[in-house]
């Protein structure tokens, strides 16, 4: 059996727009907070993994922290970047090479939808020239089909956004902290049917960091360690309905989230019924609905009732995106998954303040998903 890994410190630079503050500077703020939370100093850190999309070299943060010569590896893996940094950091401890390390994610995106050269995603140039190389269009297609197949209403999309913005209002680190009525969400401009403007998250800026050690060392640093029971990353298989696909085969397959989720449950020896607090990738309102089923928390179609009855609220049976998710926090790609871990750690410690899930949650779950079909899942326990 592999060695258990504990999270003993978490830190976050607020998500949003921060003119004049660089991605690296936000990363340093998150690291300092995580170190203080663990009660350690930078010179105690033996290794680091850093994730970013916009920052070429997250390891340059050592110039702001201290040039201690540690191995510092940069990773980029799309929207699953933070899950990859966390997985690699945990595995480094499991290998026995080091006993105290940090995973940090940072990003500073310009406003607007992500754009890139289609050829960098193994897509032909014409796919972008005709206007099909857009992630938002894929999300519209995917949830539109899902709604038709499983009888999900437009109102349920609005309920997701309404909930996440209300949760964001309770989170001092969130980007969007103003609640919004369901009608306003539904009546905002249609971007990619059935998804309106307020049903999408925004690329933004922020950073998050996590300090890890072997479970047996955890009590040296904290009296409330959180154990990382599983971290998995998977990519799409042939037949999955994925972003940036010019074609799909006739035979359908489940998405990478399903594969990452099943592997994580198996690794942790924990099932969806055991989970008390959930963070899901809500790039758009539809993604949260689909991911609730893909991660085993309900059957396809049950979401219509689950959201109507408030089960995904902080006080409900399945609290989802208690810190407001991507819809309230935006998505600095490199940091987004560590923001989820930060929230789950606070929830499992019982220190999430106004947004604390009641009855002492013991098991937390996080999921990331993004282009071109990559997913990451983590399961944490106290």
């Amino acid at each position: 059996m592999s060695m258990d890994v504990a999270i003993v410190g978490v830190g976050l630079h607020p998500f949003g727009r921060h003119p004049g503050v660089s991605g690296i500077q936000m990363g340093a703020v998150a690291i300092r907070k995580a170190l203080a939370d663990a009660g350690v100093e930078w010179k105690d850190i033996e290794f680091a993994f850093g994730g970013s999309y916009e920052v070429d070299n997250p390891d340059a943060v050592v110039a702001l922290m201290g040039l201690t010569g540690i191995p510092f590896t940069d990773v980029y893996n799309g929207c699953a970047t933070a899950a990859s940094a966390l997985t690699l950091a945990a595995n480094t401890i499991r290998l026995g090479d080091h006993r105290l390390g940090i995973a940090v994610g940072m990003d500073k995106h310009p406003p607007g939808a992500f754009s890139a050269d289609p050829r960098d995603y193994a897509c032909p140039l014409w796919y972008g020239q005709v206007g099909e190389f857009l992630t938002t269009k894929f999300f519209g297609m995917k949830i539109n089909k899902y709604m038709l197949d499983h009888e999900i209403s437009h109102q349920t999309l609005a309920r997701v956004v309404n909930k996440n913005l209300r949760n964001g209002a309770l989170n001092e680190n969130a980007f969007r902290r103003k609640p919004m009525g369901e009608e306003q969400i539904l009546e905002s401009p249609m971007l990619n049917y059935p998804l309106t403007q307020y049903m999408f998250c925004s690329p933004d800026e922020g950073a998050a960091a996590v300090v890890l050690c072997p479970a047996e060392d955890a009590h040296k640093y904290t009296d409330k360690p959180v154990y990382l029971r599983a971290t998995t990353v998977r990519t799409r298989r042939l037949g999955a309905f994925e972003v940036h696909s010019t074609w799909l085969p006739e035979a359908e397959s489940v998405g990478p989230t399903v594969d990452a989720s099943r592997a994580a449950y198996e690794m942790a020896g924990i099932g969806p019924d055991d989970v008390d607090v959930i963070q899901l990738q809500d790039t758009d309102a539809g993604a949260e609905i689909i991911h609730l089923a893909e991660n085993g928390f309900c059957a396809d179609g049950d979401q219509e009732r689950i959201y109507a009855e408030g089960e995904t609220e902080i006080g409900g049976r399945l609290p989802v995106n208690t810190d407001g998710g991507l819809i309230a926090n935006g998505e600095p790609i490199g940091a987004s998954g560590l923001r989820q871990i930060h929230e789950v750690v606070l929830q499992l410690r019982g220190t999430a303040g106004e947004r604390q899930v009641p009855n002492r949650p013991k098991v937390g779950y996080t999921q990331l998903y993004g282009a071109p079909g990559t997913a990451g899942v983590s399961i944490l326990t106290v």
Binding site: P124, W126, Q129, G131, K145, Y193, W247, P249
Partner: protein, 151 residues
């Protein structure tokens, strides 16, 4: 105005009854679109050019209601932008992503529910630096009686 296809080898051109050009794996039989030189299922490099059916049914759809980032988008942007539909059309041996000639939600929703036949057509999508009209493929509701409009 001279018309130029957005890419060579994407669809038969010129001609009245355009067909999309895909690949078929000689080893496992999977069909891809567009042409690719290795198989995404069995990794074979024995891929043969394969013309796809002109008609299919709508499997999934959305609308593109804001201008895509340009470049790479070659169509009109800003106030000149014209929204378009996008969907996956099931051609029986492969599903292809394509622009759709309508953005009408009721029409597209009914097309999925009723398995309405869609047919591939060539449509203008933008203008190149030399003033040529760039054309690409799209799917449109097919004429109701295929006998009168041979494919």
């Amino acid at each position: 105005m001279t018309q130029v296809p957005v890419a060579d080898g994407l669809f038969t051109w010129p001609g009245d009854d355009p067909q999309l050009i895909g690949s078929r794996c000689a080893d496992c039989g999977i069909v891809t679109f567009p042409v690719q030189d290795s198989c995404p299922r069995c990794a074979s490099t024995a891929m043969d050019e394969h013309l796809l059916a002109r008609r299919g049914t709508l499997w999934a759809w959305t609308t593109q209601s804001f201008p895509p980032p340009a470049p790479p988008y070659v169509g009109p942007t800003g106030k000149e932008f014209v929204p378009f539909g996008v969907g996956f059309v099931d051609l029986g041996e492969v599903k292809v992503e394509a622009r759709l000639t309508t953005t009408d939600a009721d029409v597209l929703d009914a097309a999925v529910r009723n398995r309405t036949a869609l047919e591939v057509v060539v449509v203008p999508v933008g203008t190149d630096d030399d003033g040529n009209e760039i054309v690409s493929f799209a799917f449109t509701p097919a004429p109701s009686n295929p006998e009168e409009h041979p494919a």
